[in-house]
């Protein structure tokens, strides 16, 4: 489905990614986990085609990514909603770009607005919505466009803890219903464990995949899974791996 082959990415002297190889199967929920500055956003931007790798290539569905590819729908941390469009028009944006007639695209957008629980807010502008609601619009907008892959770049990082939990739950339900392939970026171990079917732990300077780990917590899942013994086992295991890495990078930056 997605094949990241021998990717390196330099920004001038700085090597953001080094020899990254990842193969992702259809229907996987992959979480890229790592401290800030480990190149996880850079990697996601390469998959979305916003940026080109220095060496290596990204192949999505058998086609090499050379420019921005609508097959990989991106959910941004900062929502990136169009402030001059209503909720309905924002969600229908991708369909409008495809030239789908107004009536049809609005009907389709309406379905996804209901899916994320925003019925009644169709005619609101984004400025009238809370952060959590804006991120729901952003998710609905990507879903309405029906991409093969959904990329989420720390989508819940700017939200308060309670809203985040609700949205995590909703994202799990959306994943179970749609069975889309998902790549999700976070620096929260809890978020990674709750959502993923597979976790890739990244290290910094240069960015590399340090550990590739299966998340065998049962699906369907909800937040209650955080109380299970297996959850804590996995969490301890990840923390062991991450701890030394975090310490190393703290030392590297403090000198």
């Amino acid at each position: 489905m997605i094949s990241i082959q021998q990717i390196s990415k330099n920004f001038g002297e700085f090597q953001a990614l080094q020899h990254v190889n990842i193969d992702i199967q259809k229907g996987e929920f992959v979480v890229l986990l790592g401290a800030s500055g480990c190149g996880k956003s850079t990697l996601l931007n390469l998959v979305a085609g916003f940026d080109q790798p220095t060496t290596g290539r990204v192949v999505v569905n058998g086609r090499e990514v050379k420019s921005v590819d609508p097959h990989c729908g991106m959910v941004f941390q900062q929502y990136a909603l169009f402030p001059w469009l209503t909720v309905l028009e924002n969600v229908a944006f991708g369909l409008k770009m495809k030239g789908i007639a107004r009536h049809e695209r609005h009907a389709c957008a309406q379905r996804f607005i209901e899916m994320v629980g925003l019925q009644g807010f169709e005619q609101h502008f984004p400025s009238a919505l809370s952060g959590g609601m804006r991120q729901r619009v952003s998710i609905a907008r990507v879903l309405a466009n029906d991409p093969d892959v959904i990329l989420l770049d720390e989508p819940f990082a700017a939200l308060d803890a309670m809203t985040r939990q609700v949205l995590q739950d909703e994202l799990l339900q959306i994943y179970e219903k749609s069975r889309k392939t998902i790549i999700f970026i976070t620096h929260s171990i809890d978020e990674a464990l709750l959502l993923s079917t597979r976790m890739l732990i990244m290290s910094a300077r240069p960015g590399r995949v340090m550990t590739d780990m299966k998340n065998d917590l049962p699906m369907p899942r909800n937040v209650d899974v955080q109380l299970s013994p297996r959850y804590n086992e996995l969490k301890a295991q990840i923390w062991d791996t991450v701890q030394s890495e975090v310490m190393r990078s703290i030392h590297a930056t403090s000198h």
């Binding site: 916003f50 941004f76 402030p83 409008k96 770009m97 400025s127 907008r141």
Partner: protein
């Protein structure tokens, strides 16, 4: 001091010149500015011409326009157009820079082509800045028209006060100035109403 009909006639004559010149300039400047704002190559190609046009005050176009068009309406329109086009273009180009690049990425990610990005993202996204620039340009249009009418015209508010001066009618001169001020205030008010309608998402 002419009757009310001629007074109103002078106001309307000037207002028409402002409107025709202003709309012609903005109709060209907005699409061109959006194109240049999103195209590094376009900017590089157009910049020499723009750098030449920009420092020219509107008054400096009057002799050339008289030679080309004579004392006609076209000449008045051309003064307004030439006096406002370059600053309007600069405003639009600057306005396109104010757009969050993330919105352009998001649009591309949702399948927007280059043309669709300009039409659906850059234009609406820079519209608030374009509007505030156009308010300045509208004021500038009035300056252009009045100066053109002061030099050569048979009607209009500039003509009215110049004519008043010829006959030592201070009251006509002062009234003409007040009329200019009132007319500009009215057009500004109308412009603000249109702006609020178009930009209702901003409130």
């Amino acid at each position: 001091m002419g009757g009310e009909g001629t007074l109103m006639g002078n106001v309307l004559a000037s207002a028409r010149r402002v409107m025709v010149g202003f709309f012609a300039a903005t109709l060209v400047a907005i699409p061109l500015g959006i194109f240049l704002g999103t195209s590094t190559f376009g900017r590089a190609a157009f910049n020499p011409l723009l750098s030449f046009l920009r420092p020219l005050p509107s008054m400096s176009w009057i002799p050339l326009s008289l030679l080309w068009f004579g004392i006609t309406e076209t000449q008045k329109y051309s003064i307004v157009f030439m006096g406002t086009f370059a600053p309007a273009l600069v405003y639009v180009i600057e306005a396109t820079r104010s757009i969050d690049p993330l919105l352009i990425r998001a649009a591309q990610n949702l399948g927007a082509s280059r043309w669709q990005v300009m039409k659906e993202v850059v234009l609406p996204g820079s519209l608030p800045q374009i509007f505030s620039g156009m308010k300045v340009i509208l004021g500038l249009s009035w300056t252009c028209v009045i100066s053109a009418e002061l030099v050569a015209a048979r009607e209009g508010l500039g003509f009215l006060i110049m004519n008043g001066k010829e006959f030592f009618q201070t009251e006509i001169v002062v009234m003409g100035m007040m009329l200019i001020s009132i007319t500009v205030l009215v057009t500004d008010f109308v412009f603000r109403i249109i702006e609020n309608r178009v930009l209702k998402w901003q409130r």
